[in-house]
């Protein structure tokens, strides 16, 4: 199971790094792991079904491209983690939420004053 996830990760990495959508043959070459063509094709097809890869016909084969950029996924995760609304089910717990600019500046001033009083910190 973990190995399968590894291969999914590796395929997504190749697709994200590539500039254009890739053929299964191209993914296989870039992975360079000595995998069977059928294995890579199966996992690529699974990634398409899960919504990670888009697929377009190219002659007799298909080209696979990312459904969204890596950055899109990352900012989606951060957005989820930092939504602090009361009604959220606490699926994730963030370290700290937002603070207005002027308040942050005032607190930084207070903090350095406190640090001066307690140099051992």
């Amino acid at each position: 199971m973990a190995k399968f996830g590894d291969l999914e990760n590796a395929i997504m990495n190749e697709v994200w790094q590539a500039e254009d959508p890739l053929l299964v043959r191209e993914i296989l070459d870039r992975l360079d792991r000595g995998l069977a063509y059928n294995t890579v094709q199966t996992v690529t097809e699974i990634l398409n079904r899960k919504g990670w890869l888009s697929k377009e016909r190219d002659g007799r084969a298909f080209r696979y491209g990312p459904a969204a950029t890596r950055d899109d996924y990352v900012s989606g995760l951060i957005r989820e983690a930092l939504s602090f609304a009361d009604d959220r089910a606490a699926a994730l717990v963030g370290f700290v939420d937002e603070m207005p600019d002027d308040e942050a500046a005032e607190l930084r001033r207070l903090l350095s004053a406190a640090q001066d009083n307690e140099p051992e910190s």
């Binding site: 890596r70 995760l77 089910a89 606490a90 699926a91 717990v93 370290f95 939420d97 942050a104 307690e118």
Partner: protein, 357 residues
Amino acid sequence: MTVAIILTVYAIALSLAAPRLLLRANWVDRAPRLAIASWQALTVAVVGSLALAGLSFAIPIAGLGGQGIIDDLQACAMALQQQYSTPAGAAVGIGGALLAGAVITRCFWGLASTGARMSRERNAHRRVLDMVGRPDFDRDIVILDSTEAAVYCMPGIHRRTVATTAALHALTDEELIAVLAHERAHLTERHDLALAFSVALSQAFHGLPPFRLAARETARLVELRADDVAAARTHRLTVAAALLAVVAVPPHAVPAVALGATGTGAAARVRRLLPPRQSVGRVPACVAAAAIALLLVAPGLALGWPAVTSADHALCPAEPETSLSASLSSSGSAPAPAPAAHAPCAVDSMDEGRFSS
């Protein structure tokens, strides 16, 4: 009937008075764990006494006990027959049954749906996280490449602590230790369970004041508790500095209204860490803990008390010892959420490390 009325009044009085007392109490921010336990105990006591009140309206058998099962069943049948023979009695009984049923089913529904939603959200999040994040095995975190500073944790079976590259750049080594100690406190103390429980009850009862306030305060207090753990690991000013380093400054002016619920949280946490910490003494902590325990067992005692007194009654020629123990064991089966009640004195005095020496 009297018991049922007492329990109803207790539930109402508790939900009106206790939140106000807890919101005003000055020890709350100094002993966040005790305060979390208080809020949880409060909601459990309200729900428990409402459910028990409904049951005792429906089944007028409080006051039995210690007479043997056959006698109890007979007396129960007679009491039931008597109540439901009059229309008014039947109405009260059915109303009570509906109340108990509604309270119990809403609780279970709320807990089940919140639990299901949480694990669904976490699984979806984890699938994406494992695809785009880079595991850092040394620090036991997952790193996200982003220019946005953020640190968070995903509790549960597949727990993860996540930090963005921007957050790692913004923090000194010592501050990072503080941040990770904060997140680990969330994970190891299972703050997510306390949060989920309070959110579930708040949703089950449509955000009625005691439940809504309990959810809001629990969310605030678990952060204070985790800050305290981080401060004990490093230094309180280090935690304050870490908060200010990671805090998201909104790119555009956020209207004050929108900040009301969330934005003040971070600032209040920093302000709390700036002066030297005053911990709650052992005596106030024990008094508060005892009050929590009393809050929880009171509904059970109310239900069991008539049984104790009826032991002296001429109608019940049973030995007082057996009836007493029977009624006590029956009262013990009332709402007894373990986490709040046991070892309460140790709750917040322990983390100071003052009593370990």
